[in-house]
């Protein structure tokens, strides 16, 4: 038992040191995982030829970089032969060149209210991983959700079809499929 207490003491002494050395602004691991999901989505959705004519694949974060820079770390990675670029947009009308728009769950109503849903050839992804129950009410074609202790994807096939996009068989196999909305 004496060693057990010694260990507890060591942990207590070490804790504050660890706290101090964790640098502010460091990208969180969870955000890196979320960003990896978004990157795979970009690769596994099929865009029509006219949407593939741009030099870069533009991914946009609505209102704020709620992934803490994790998606920006992936800039330059190839998406269908084009480099990924990442930027933050303030309003839906700024999303004209965005092939993918990532919307935080807390901003989803604002996005919807501002007329952000329904654009052709644009994939709207809702990040619902912080929500108690992950459902997007059809505002996004794809939702990133919590599935137990893991992250998962929900694809709204109707919203995807409205956007004129198709998902690869690999993506359809791993995602939960729903059909919601008009």
């Amino acid at each position: 038992m004496r060693r057990l207490w010694a260990l507890a003491l060591a942990a207590l002494l070490t804790g504050p040191g660890l706290e101090r050395s964790a640098a502010a602004g460091e990208v969180r691991e969870l955000d890196r995982v979320r960003a990896a999901f978004v990157y795979h989505l970009a690769k596994l959705i099929h865009w029509p030829a006219e949407a593939r004519s741009t030099k870069a694949f533009r991914a946009c974060l609505y209102r704020r970089d709620f992934l803490g820079g994790a998606l920006t770390e992936l800039q330059g990675r190839p998406v269908a032969g084009r480099p990924l670029t990442v930027e933050v947009i303030a309003a839906p009308e700024d999303a004209a060149g965005c092939r993918l728009v990532l919307v935080a769950g807390a901003d989803l109503a604002t996005w919807r209210g501002a007329g952000g849903a329904g654009a052709r050839h644009r994939l709207v992804v809702a990040d619902l991983t912080e929500a108690p129950a992950g459902e997007s009410d059809g505002a996004a074609a794809v939702a990133l959700v919590r599935r137990g202790d893991r992250l998962g994807l929900v694809i709204n096939r109707r919203a995807l079809a409205r956007a004129g996009l198709t998902a690869s068989s690999e993506l359809l196999k791993l995602a939960h499929l729903v059909e919601e909305g008009p």
């Binding site: 038992m1 260990l7 660890l18 969870l30 990896a36 599935r147 137990g148 791993l174």
Partner: protein, 651 residues
């Protein structure tokens, strides 16, 4: 007991971590199939880690795997894990023998259901049957090898971790089959609340003319019932609450014709998980569980129907755990403590009749256990450092000191080095120790004999392992080779006067070596395949567990999407020849070859169907009665056929 220098090293390691440079992992290289496998919200995983890169040998079954393989119980699923052999026990359940560690009561592994540990307090047994319906599960992970550095006592041969599903809307299942099987299950989910309920009623799925453990014909009534009710709520994203209630009633499957024997039990588990801070970089998870365990066994003399034996067992248990994580550069440090309080409320028995003696002159009443405190308070401290010096290497060191009221302060640790190549390869070097404290029955059984059993030591295991994983496209290959030494293996031994059985440590150390292989193909095409093979060799210890073990076991699964309306699945399970020591000539356990098949498909309107048959050829097989060698080998299940209709919809 470790030398003090080990602890100094541990503390020094913790200090050294504070100066390490920052390094972040890049998860975009992982295939999407591995990303969805990352456990990112649980303290148990410590770092987002796909099974192929985990510092242990892990076999994962996702929901779609469970649907295709259609196992209904954990015992059936375990037969598809290379390295696990299953054994039909004479009462009812299937015992899981992980990596050659034979046992009667499933007491050598730890089972977690959504992080809550489930085990019978008296036998130490994890449930492997219909008490745990697999259609409720999102995922089943089977970790083979020692895990006591994380999970403490009894994680000797591995961990089975089950994660229940969340549904959005409603799901309903109805099943009917032979052996008068009737089953219904309901799942509802809306907002942050999930409800699951199931009920099963049927006859025991064995041939009616089977032999009892005494060699005569079994004539016991066959009806059995199981029910489960599980409620989960997430009132806040950081808070998870759950209540699970289960009850069961079944006869003993291989009881002599002189009596009928039954067991009924119920279990209630309440749990709360509160997660503070970030899930991966800096956080704290608090867990509080309260469990209530009750069981009653009884026997009736067959001709008169008079009570022959009655046993009542009741206990409750409180578990608290705090696990903290902090990322420090390329280290992820985890530390935690646990506290467990167990109270035995009632553990007594009344015997009026014995199958070999008839009705007794004087009824025998007394405690099932003797020399035991009714209350135990255990605790543990553990630390783990997961260090990624570069993207290709992960080094893990974990250590745990337990304080067990009844067994002292054991120490266990593990060391893992995992190399991950860019071409989908990973190579693991694993070392670890583990311990199993004897169950209450093993250590404190009140013998029906004047014989005084010698003191019993915990079982200890040391393991070395090399494992390889490769994933390329739809192909997955997994292989491991291990060597383990087991000290103080516990075996059941008849008392010198033959009146009862007691438990004793075997002489010498058992040495077990094995190889496990898994090949799986999960493509977008119409055909999928999964093949598993386990090879095993055991010697040492007296008596050795070797004769009871099959030198090889395996399974082959083929799924064929015939068209959009029908999918066909075929499963072959095979076991090499086994011997036993019971001395009876007419109950050869031999080897076995069993076939399962199913067809399934959608019906429209949210309905789907599955027609399944298990043990298609109705083969009769026996498993060795791996106890003290004087019982007949029990027979495995007969052919089971069932039709299941499944409906899913939004309320």
């Amino acid at each position: 007991m470790p030398p003090p220098s080990r602890w100094s090293l541990c503390c020094a390691l913790a200090w050294a971590l504070a100066a390490s440079p920052t390094h972040g992992a890049d998860y975009s290289h992982l295939p999407l199939a591995e990303l969805v496998d990352l456990e990112v919200f649980s303290a148990a995983s410590l770092l987002p880690t796909a099974p192929g890169r985990a510092p242990a040998t892990v076999y994962v079954f996702r929901r779609d795997d469970l649907a295709r393989l259609h196992p209904r119980t954990l015992g059936e699923l375990a037969e598809l894990v290379p390295g696990i052999q299953t054994n039909q026990y004479r009462k009812r359940h299937t015992a899981l023998w992980s990596r050659g560690l034979i046992n009667r009561y499933n007491d050598k592994m730890v089972l977690l259901l959504d992080g809550v540990r489930l085990a019978d307090f008296y036998y130490g047994a994890l449930p492997s049957g219909d008490e745990l319906p697999l259609d409720q599960m999102e995922r089943v992970e089977v970790v083979l090898g020692p895990a006591s550095s994380l999970h403490g006592a009894n994680a000797l041969a591995g961990v089975v971790s089950l994660t229940t599903r969340d549904v959005h809307g409603a799901e309903l299942r109805a099943l009917a089959g032979n052996f008068a099987s009737r089953r219904a299950a309901l799942a509802l989910g809306e907002g942050g609340v999930q409800l699951y309920a199931s009920a099963l009623s049927r006859d025991l799925p064995y041939h009616r003319d089977r032999q009892s453990f005494a060699g005569d014909r079994v004539v016991v009534p066959a009806a059995e019932d199981y029910a489960t009710l599980h409620l989960k709520a997430r009132p806040r994203p950081s808070l998870r609450l759950a209540a699970r209630y289960g009850q069961w009633r079944h006869p003993f499957a291989f009881i002599p014709a002189t009596q009928d024997a039954f067991v009924e039990g119920e279990r209630l588990d309440l749990s709360a998980r509160w997660q503070l801070g970030d899930a991966l970089d800096r956080g704290l998870e608090l867990a509080l569980d309260q469990g209530f365990d009750r069981a009653r066994e009884w026997e009736e003399e067959r001709r008169s129907g008079a009570l022959a034996y009655r046993e009542v067992r009741r206990a409750h248990r409180t578990h608290f755990a705090a696990t903290g994580r902090i990322r420090l550069g390329n280290h992820l440090l985890t530390a935690g403590l646990t506290a467990d309080r167990e109270v035995l409320d009632r553990v007594d028995a009344l015997r009026l009749f014995r199958y070999d003696l008839g009705f007794l002159q004087e009824p025998q009443f007394g405690d099932l256990l003797r020399g035991i405190d009714r209350e135990a308070l255990d605790g543990a401290l553990f630390v783990q450092d997961l260090w990624q010096p570069n993207p290709d290497w992960t080094l893990v060191y974990g250590a745990r000191r337990d304080h067990l009221d009844r067994y002292g302060d054991p120490f266990n640790h593990r060391l893992a080095a995992v190399w991950t190549g860019r071409a989908g390869h990973s190579l693991k070097f694993l070392y670890g120790t583990a311990l199993r404290a004897p169950s209450l029955r093993e250590r404190f059984k009140n013998l029906e004999s004047d014989f005084a059993a010698p003191p019993l030591n915990p079982e200890r295991l040391t393991s070395w392992e090399v494992a390889w994983n490769h994933r390329r496209g739809p192909w997955e290959l997994q292989g491991s080779a291990y060597r383990q030494r087991v000290e103080d293996l516990i075996a059941e031994v008849p008392t010198p006067d033959g009146a009862d059985e007691y438990f004793a440590n075997r002489e010498g150390n058992a040495r077990i070596r094995g190889v496990e292989l898994l090949l799986a193909h999960r493509g977008a095409g119409p055909v999928g395949v999964r093949a598993a093979l386990g090879l095993l060799d055991a010697d040492g210890a007296d008596p050795s567990p070797g004769p009871y073990l099959a030198p090889w076991t395996g399974s082959l699964h083929l799924d064929w999407r015939w068209n959009a309306a029908v999918e066909i699945d075929l499963v072959v399970r095979f076991t090499g020849r086994r011997r036993d020591r019971n001395g009876f000539a007419d109950d050869d356990p031999g080897g076995r070859l069993l076939f399962d098949a199913s067809a399934s498909g959608p019906l429209g309107g949210g309905f789907s169907w599955r027609l399944a048959v298990r043990n298609l050829a109705d083969a009769r097989s026996r498993d060795p009665a791996a106890d003290f060698g004087a019982q007949y080998n029990p027979e495995g299940p007969a052919r089971e056929l069932w039709l299941e209709v499944f409906w899913t919809g939004r309320p």
